[in-house]
């Protein structure tokens, strides 16, 4: 028997090999090539390129800017997310469901929309909010200047704290409430309990959520390019894209070195949060249904609800409203409510102008491809991972995780360097280079969705069908798919949505024929017409909201974002 098994060739290997092959060619090889190129720019090993980064102040300042803005966003993000997660998840705050939806919504909105909104609100000369505050408090100059490190941190924080909010909420809600009760019955006051039991137990989650915010903020391109560029504040991501546009050999080398720095930073952090902190994570989901006990806020209930509401208004309602207001404004110097300053022509433009419709079509096609191909990979991998013990089944999973953790600019740069004919594959300037970039960056979302659905379906359900005489395909059709179907659809949308309005990678990979919606919006925002950009952003917001509601209905609340 033993001998026979050795020669037995498992068909499942074919799938693994195909998927791993794909990831090796389009993900691992380009990234490794970047690494090599950074150290062997002139054919032999040299650290020259790295020394140049430190010695040219232009490069060095962008590294510093990135580290400073990402660190500050991380600190503020967690400081905001922790109390919010607690209030929404564990107390009797009014309107908890509404708040949760609001806070999570930002997660699916393209970050550059936030940048556009805050630019409009906090422009030092004409910012709506600045003007408003000036007139109310009689100030002689604007209280806020968006064109600053502070402004950048503010927008990054308001856009990336939801990352921490999601992680922390999940941890708080999965904690066994009797761990806290045991502390109370031992004589600890609620505050003492918070510091001796709740916080220590949450520490791994806090740490990993902080790292998540850090990486997201450091890898972000949309926000620093819209806010930082006019302010002459450059970050690693904006610098890389600039170098790519310049296109000189030296520029590309500098871009490579900066990208390698960012990639290593992101992957080290990914490793730390997955393997070091993950190991120490105490929050395990027990088989029992856990009902976290709700903290009674008592006399603080109304004040805290008002405070949370104010935060939601400032961070979510006002910016989104300002985007919509902008899209209806004729003269940006005046309020949309002033006589004759209201128009719907920008909304007409976005649905009628050929170039915009064409871009939207491009985005639709490439993101449908990315989501569909991505889900095929995800379903096969999730099945192999959860339902078989084929050796090597977790390799693609690992690669997908790494791909998603790699900053977008790095993925795009690595594809530009390797997929433009130098190594026998030339897909540069085609839609496929974008589809591949999208898949590498966003497949993880679909993977998670299918894996978690499969974990919820006990193998015995399938075994019961097997015992009843159902073959492999029949089981898939009768048992597995009906149970995970909604999650598969949800996963498809989770890949589709960010691809549809993707900016960073598209901006580096597009050609005249493959211009995407995100790129078009960005170009309008920066060069042509902020109102048109705002109308596009508004349309995207509506689309995201609608898809979100559909998703939420489809998966009974499990997978709204």
């Amino acid at each position: 028997m033993e001998n026979k098994k050795k020669f037995y060739f498992d068909v499942k290997w074919l799938f693994i090999i195909a998927i791993v092959g794909f990831l090796l060619v389009f993900q691992v090889f380009p990234l490794v090539y970047l690494l090599i190129r950074a150290f062997f720019a002139e054919g032999s090993f040299s650290l020259d390129a790295f020394t140049r980064i430190y010695s040219t102040s232009m490069n060095w300042s962008c590294v510093l800017n990135t580290l400073i803005t990402a660190s500050l966003s991380m600190v503020f993000g967690v400081l905001i997310a922790f109390p919010l997660a607690f209030l929404v998840g564990r107390t009797n705050l009014y309107g908890r469901k509404l708040f949760r939806t609001l806070f999570l919504m930002t997660y699916m909105v393209p970050p550059y929309v936030g940048a556009m909104a805050w630019l409009r609100l906090l422009n030092p000369k004409v910012g709506t909010l600045n003007v408003f505050l000036e007139s109310i408090f009689g100030l002689s100059e604007a209280p806020f200047d968006i064109y600053s490190i502070g402004g950048l941190v503010w927008v990054l924080t308001t856009f990336y704290y939801p990352y921490a909010f999601i992680t922390l909420s999940r941890a708080m809600e999965n904690m066994d409430p009797s761990l806290e009760e045991a502390s109370r019955i031992s004589g600890a006051s609620p505050v003492k309990m918070l510091f001796t039991v709740t916080l220590p137990l949450m520490l791994p989650s806090i740490a990993s959520s902080a790292l998540l915010v850090f990486v997201a903020a450091a890898s972000c391109y949309g926000i620093p390019s819209i806010i930082g560029a006019p302010a002459k504040i450059y970050t690693i991501t904006t610098r890389i894209v600039d170098y790519v546009y310049v296109g000189s050999a030296e520029g590309l080398t500098d871009a490579t070195v900066l990208a390698v720095f960012l990639m290593v930073l992101a992957l080290v952090i990914l490793f730390i949060s997955n393997f070091v902190i993950g190991k120490r994570d105490y929050i395990t989901i027990s088989g029992k249904s856990v009902r976290p006990n709700t903290v009674d806020l008592g006399k603080w209930r109304i004040p805290l609800t008002i405070l949370t509401g104010l935060f939601a208004v400032v961070v979510i309602v006002i910016p989104f409203a300002s985007v919509f207001a902008t899209s209806f404004t004729v003269n940006m110097g005046k309020s949309v409510f002033e006589e004759g300053n209201f128009t719907i022509k920008y909304w007409e433009t976005i649905f009628s102008r050929n170039s915009i419709v064409k871009s939207a079509g491009n985005s639709l096609i490439s993101s449908v491809w990315a989501a569909s191909l991505g889900m095929i990979v995800c379903i096969i991998m999730a099945y192999l991972l959860k339902r078989t013990n084929v050796r090597g089944r977790s390799i693609p999973d690992f690669l997908i995780t790494v791909g998603s953790g790699t900053p977008s600019v790095v993925i795009a740069l690595s594809l530009i360097m390797t997929m433009s004919g130098r190594f026998g594959i030339n897909i540069y300037n085609t839609i496929w280079i974008m589809v591949i970039a999208y898949m590498i960056k966003y497949m993880l979302m679909g993977m998670r969705s299918v894996v978690s659905a499969l974990s919820r379906v006990s193998p015995s359900l399938e075994e019961a069908a097997q015992v009843s005489g159902a073959g492999w395909l029949r089981r898939l059709k009768d048992v597995v798919f009906p149970l995970i179907g909604p999650s598969v659809v949800a996963g498809w949308f989770l890949i589709f949505m960010p691809c549809f309005y993707e900016l960073t990678m598209s901006n580096m990979l597009y050609s005249d024929k493959t211009k995407s919606l995100g790129v078009d919006l960005f170009l309008y925002q920066t060069y042509h017409s902020q109102q048109t950009a705002a109308a596009l952003a508004g349309a995207i917001l509506i689309l995201v909201a609608v898809l979100n509601i559909v998703l939420s209905k489809l998966t009974k609340g499990k997978f709204s974002i």
Binding site: E181, R184, P200, L201, Y282
Partner: protein
């Protein structure tokens, strides 16, 4: 060491009444068990004593001091109780020693004294050599002892146990019953123990509170609730029982469908439910109350577990192992009832319930 008084305690979650107007007193040093099927309100009762839930109405006093009432509420940390949770709730970020020392640290006990007390209690639960271990390195049974040690270390007035044995395997569960009972007897503290396992309730308790749907069904010693259940629910939930319908008249009970009567000296007359424990049915040709047909028998080692039909009634009889294979299947045998319990007939037909 202390007395817990429940005074018309009621708890509602929204419209559903979980605990309905319970009044009683847990006396000094008593081992009290709250017994009932899941969802009967026993855990809620315990959590109200602990202070994790507030009664909707009524009053709870510990040693005469009001801890819960309409206008007073003492939070759990001020009640000086010990509690073992069903999930053990051993803190995964602290080692065994730190887990057990926690209640003393909160009370600002000097370090040397903490060490001494923790070592003593760890010894009592046989965990001395595990003091430095992290909870993840312990088995379920060991974690459960850590939880017990932590609950006992501050010498609480009352020890609350919420189904502490339900996650252990059968052998260990049985051993822990005796260990908990022994610790309680040695320390002389009050225990309030919640379980749905009637075996645990029978072996450990001084008094058992049988609860169903939030309503107290009976309070009594294990012997009382087993031998003199006050209603059909208690008879059915505690131990195994057969229910027969019949009519009580002139010191005799005529059983429905059965040719034969039982002598009855009690006061209930008219339509009755008769509860017969399987071990109270004996095989006897000469004293037979009635005859029944043997349907099947199962050898369990120490007993012979039989199914019998008599006049449309299906009965379970647990009798001497020596009778196994003594009769052939479908043979008619004489049956003698050694003991039985009579209730006024209820609307619901209990006969279908075979336990």
């Amino acid at each position: 060491m202390s007395v817990i008084t429940l005074d018309h305690v009621t708890k509602k979650f929204g419209d559903s009444v979980v605990v309905n107007d319970i009044s009683d007193e847990f006396r000094d040093g008593e081992f009290i068990t709250l017994l009932g099927p899941s969802g009967c309100g026993k855990t809620t009762m315990l959590r109200m004593i602990a202070g994790f839930e507030k009664p909707t109405s009524g009053e709870i006093r510990i040693d005469g001091k009001v801890v819960s009432s309409a206008d007073t509420f003492v939070p759990p940390e001020k009640r000086e109780l010990g509690m073992v949770f069903q999930s053990y709730a051993v803190w995964p970020h602290l080692n065994v020693f730190a887990n057990v020392a926690y209640p003393l640290k909160i009370r600002k006990v000097p370090k040397a004294e903490i060490k001494e007390k923790v070592e003593k209690v760890l010894e009592a639960v046989h965990l001395s050599q595990y003091a430095k271990r992290m909870p993840s390195e312990l088995s379920g049974g060991q974690q459960q002892r850590v939880a017990l040690a932590r609950a006992l270390v501050a010498e609480p007035k009352v020890l609350l146990l919420d189904e502490p044995l339900s996650n252990l395997d059968a052998k260990l569960r049985e051993r822990m019953r005796f260990e908990i009972k022994e610790i309680q007897a040695r320390l002389g503290i009050n225990v309030v123990y919640v379980t749905h396992d009637q075996g645990e309730a029978m072996t450990m308790s001084d008094r058992v509170f049988v609860i169903n749907s939030g309503v107290l069904q009976q309070v009594g010693t294990p012997v009382e609730i087993y031998r003199k259940p006050e209603n059909q629910f208690v008879a059915d939930f505690v131990g195994k029982v057969n229910f027969l319908k019949g009519v009580s008249e002139n010191g005799k009970i005529k059983l429905d469908g059965i040719d034969g009567t039982l002598d009855y000296s009690g006061e209930i007359t008219g339509a009755v439910d008769v509860a017969v424990r399987p071990e109270n049915i004996r095989i006897s040709e000469e004293n037979a109350h009635f005859r029944g047909k043997l349907l099947s028998e199962y050898f369990t080692g120490d007993t012979n577990d039989c199914r019998i039909t008599a006049g449309g009634n299906e009965l379970r009889m647990i009798t001497d192992a020596a009778t196994y294979k003594h009769f052939s299947d479908s043979e008619t045998i004489g049956l003698y009832i050694t003991d039985f319990i009579v209730f006024p007939a209820s609307d619901s037909d209990f006969r279908k319930i075979m336990t």
